[in-house]
């Protein structure tokens, strides 16, 4: 088939992991295509060296088949993220023993927060927005409801991009808490 739009739906990460565990090497190539550049970015953030970052990505993927057999992995993406980050921290610890390992697997936003926000009706959303502080409200409105970029949101609100991202994170969390309250609650 020569039309790209007609290619089959890609397998999920978890399907690929299952196949990799049974020795299907082509699944490793598919995971590489999805994640090598992301792991590289994470490694660059910690190691600040392109060659060391590339080596780390190669090392992680080389060990992946064995690690997946040894560990019970429910959601591959956050597990891989933590694995890569810990490998980086291990490298850094060789130079600075005070560097601490990160055992926490960060959940994706989608698990709770995004689901609540996605399903909220407009009226409740507006009511909840009014209860946020000014910075969070302005950033949430500009970024999510008016679909502006970080930069445009920053220009409009007068905040820096870092402040915008902080307001978005805190604002989302507060919105979720407000939206999850029963309707009769104050």
């Amino acid at each position: 088939m020569f039309l790209r739009s007609s290619t089959p739906e890609p397998l999920s990460d978890e399907d690929l992991v299952l196949r990799l565990k049974t020795g299907h090497q082509a699944s490793l190539a598919a995971l590489w295509d999805r994640y090598a550049h992301l792991l590289f970015g994470v490694a660059m953030k910690y190691l600040r060296d392109t060659e060391r970052a590339k080596d780390l990505v190669t090392e992680v993927f080389g060990a992946l088949p064995d690690l997946l057999v040894k560990h019970e992995v429910r959601t591959f993406r956050p597990w891989l993220h933590t694995l890569a980050r810990n490998r980086c921290l291990m490298i850094l610890r060789k130079h600075d023993p005070n560097v601490r390992m990160d055992e926490h697997v960060q959940p994706q936003l989608d698990d709770t927060e995004e689901a609540v926000l996605r399903e909220a009706d407009l009226q409740r959303l507006e009511a909840a927005l009014e209860q946020l502080n000014e910075g969070q409200r302005a950033c949430i409105r500009s970024f999510y409801l008016e679909q502006l970029s970080y930069e445009r949101t920053a220009e409009r609100t007068g905040f820096s991009v870092e402040q915008v991202r902080s307001h978005l994170q805190n604002g989302r969390r507060n919105l979720r808490l407000l939206l999850q309250r029963p309707l009769s609650s104050p």
Binding site: L11, T22, A26, F40, G41, D66, R77, S149, R172
Partner: protein, 364 residues
């Protein structure tokens, strides 16, 4: 369709889109879509922090073009592999040093020689042929309109196949790669990569073999400008006229040609691809899409010739499609009986066109 939430990205984030975001090439609306992903994905967020560091984008590109590592080996396995490699290298050296191998190699080279470029007479004949072409009816043409009814059936069949855990999964060749423009053209090279690792390029959502698979350096192609075409009253005069030419890179050339294809202008597309084949007769992309255009224009002999070459090309990226459309061109040119064994071969192969082949055989 469920309304799109402003809190969710509309679609998955392609790697190329991420690269363009980091390079500052996206407009504000597209930036926002990428940033929706950043807001909900801690891995992506941390990765982007690292990707913004100097040298990251170039290193990422190198990584992208590197195959994944093989499974880590034990030292015992490594010794075994080295020993086996030594035996193989020794055997190859012994075989190559035999005097009769040189002759065999020459014969082999002769059989893979590229077809000669077209003559002036052939160009004139082509121009005449295209001018008089009678296009196939719409329902018989290639492309999305005719392919889509079969897509759901193929997906269902593949999904059923993938349920069996031991079944081999067909690799998905969807990787794109930017084109390096070096400006030299030394002709095609011999390739030894397997089809599952062929680099592809998609233009207008149409599959192409990346020129890096066909040429040692991205070729600059001569393109006739449209003003030449308009000045002349007939095909012969046009073919004999000195051409006003400009040169452009391969991807830009194909982008123009395939833009004409998707716009429905098969004649203009074929003319442009014919011009490409004049310069590179063995270009598999031109052979395949030229074959499709010729088929749709009712130029069945030409379609058969191009599609047969695309089908048997050393790069087999278009093998499945070429085999099917070659069979269809044979049907048009020589009749059902001549096409039947070719269609049976497609049906037995079991690929994307097997369903269509089965339907064709049932109906005849």
């Amino acid at each position: 369709m469920a309304p799109v939430s402003p809190f969710s990205p509309r679609s998955p984030l392609p790697q190329e889109q991420l690269r363009r975001y980091l390079a500052g090439e996206l407009d504000a609306a597209a930036q926002h879509q990428v940033e929706l992903h950043l807001e909900q994905d801690p891995l992506l967020r941390e990765a982007v922090e690292g990707m913004r560091l100097p040298g990251s984008l170039a290193a990422m590109e190198q990584l992208h073009n590197t195959p994944p590592p093989a499974k880590s080996m034990s030292s015992g396995m490594k010794i075994g592999v080295v020993a086996a490699a030594a035996v193989i290298i020794g055997a190859v050296w012994w075989y190559a040093s035999r005097p009769e191998v040189g002759v065999a190699q020459q014969a082999s080279n002769a059989s893979t020689e590229v077809a000669p470029a077209v003559s002036k007479e052939q160009r004139a004949a082509f121009a005449e042929e295209v001018t008089r072409a009678k296009a196939l009816p719409k329902e018989m043409r290639t492309g999305a309109a005719s392919e889509e009814p079969f897509v759901a059936a193929v997906h269902a069949k593949r999904a059923k196949k993938l349920d069996r855990t031991k079944e081999e999964v067909v690799p998905i060749e969807t990787r794109t790669t930017p084109i390096e423009r070096t400006g030299t053209d030394d002709g095609p090279r011999t390739l030894d990569r397997s089809p599952s690792h062929r680099q592809l390029l998609f233009l207008h959502d149409l599959k192409l073999v990346d020129p890096s698979e066909l040429y040692p350096a991205n070729p600059l192609l001569s393109v006739r400008t449209g003003s030449v075409e308009a000045r002349f009253s007939d095909a012969e005069a046009r073919a004999n006229a000195p051409s006003e030419e400009r040169t452009i890179g391969y991807a830009d050339f194909m982008n123009e040609a395939l833009g004409r294809f998707v716009a429905g202008d098969r004649q203009a597309c074929l003319e442009q691809l014919f011009y490409l084949m004049d310069q590179h007769p063995d270009d598999v992309n031109a052979l395949f899409y030229g074959g499709l255009c010729a088929y749709e224009l009712g130029l069945h002999q030409r379609a058969m010739a191009y599609l047969e070459r695309a089908n048997t090309h050393r790069i087999d990226t278009f093998k499945e499609e070429s085999e099917w459309y070659h069979a269809m061109a044979v049907e048009k040119a020589q009749g059902i009986d001549a096409a039947r064994p070719l269609v049976m071969k497609v049906a037995q192969r079991g690929g994307f066109y097997a369903i269509r082949a089965d339907e064709w055989l049932s109906a005849r």
